[in-house]
Amino acid sequence: MGKTKVRKMLFILSKATIENVYAAFIMANGARMEGIESEIFFTFFGLEAIQKKKLEHLHVATVGNPAMHIPTMLGGLPGMEALATKMMKKEMEKLDMPPVSEFLEILSDSGCKLWACKLAVEMFHLEEKDLIDDLDGILTIGDFYNRADEENTQMLFV
């Protein structure tokens, strides 16, 4: 097997909708599985995915999401997001995709570094105890850029 040219993948997760969170998690985990280093920087709404109280309650977006194929006004009805989320989670379970908390454990055990954005943590008045125990730390964007300062490193905004 050839040596991979991409050595490190860095992800910035800025959203809390299930589809975005899983996209970042699957790519970060997939990198580790290929022998590539990976890290995730959780910022703005992405922080919901590492807040103990919120991470199991993430939703799929039913409004402003044309791929849902339902009229936007219907998507806004009460219970619509919950219903769509329930359906999606059922499909994900079928494919053996782990729930958010378990996925975070897998990522951390696989050596994927998990960072919270300092500015966003302050903005949402969060404390370390609100965030998952597996978190590797709270960083400024400058700190995160320093972690990218290596050859064959890619950075992706989700």
């Binding site: 097997m1 580790r32 599985m33 022998g35 053996d96 782990p98 897998i106 055990d109 050596g111």
Partner: protein, 102 residues
Amino acid sequence: MEKTYLDSIIKINDEGYLTDFTQWTREIGEEIAKEQEIEMTDKHWEVIDYIHDKYKKEEALSIRGIKKSGVINIKEFYQLFPGGPLKKATLIAGIPKPKSCI
């Protein structure tokens, strides 16, 4: 493609995975491991046994499955097979590379 391991001609694909599991032996697994710079220990073989068991039952391999396996935890798995553990472990085990994204 073909490759010779310990005087036996073994059928492999372009990534080096065995295409005929019946040709696999523990000694060949050991040789493939050496090429990957992995020194096989009892713990490694326990993992390979688990992988063979899953393969025989036609159950898909995933990192989540490893977590639940009771054989090894994910941290150890990455330590034993550095640089893509499931990829390397299946290569050594003589079975196809897993196609799953998780």
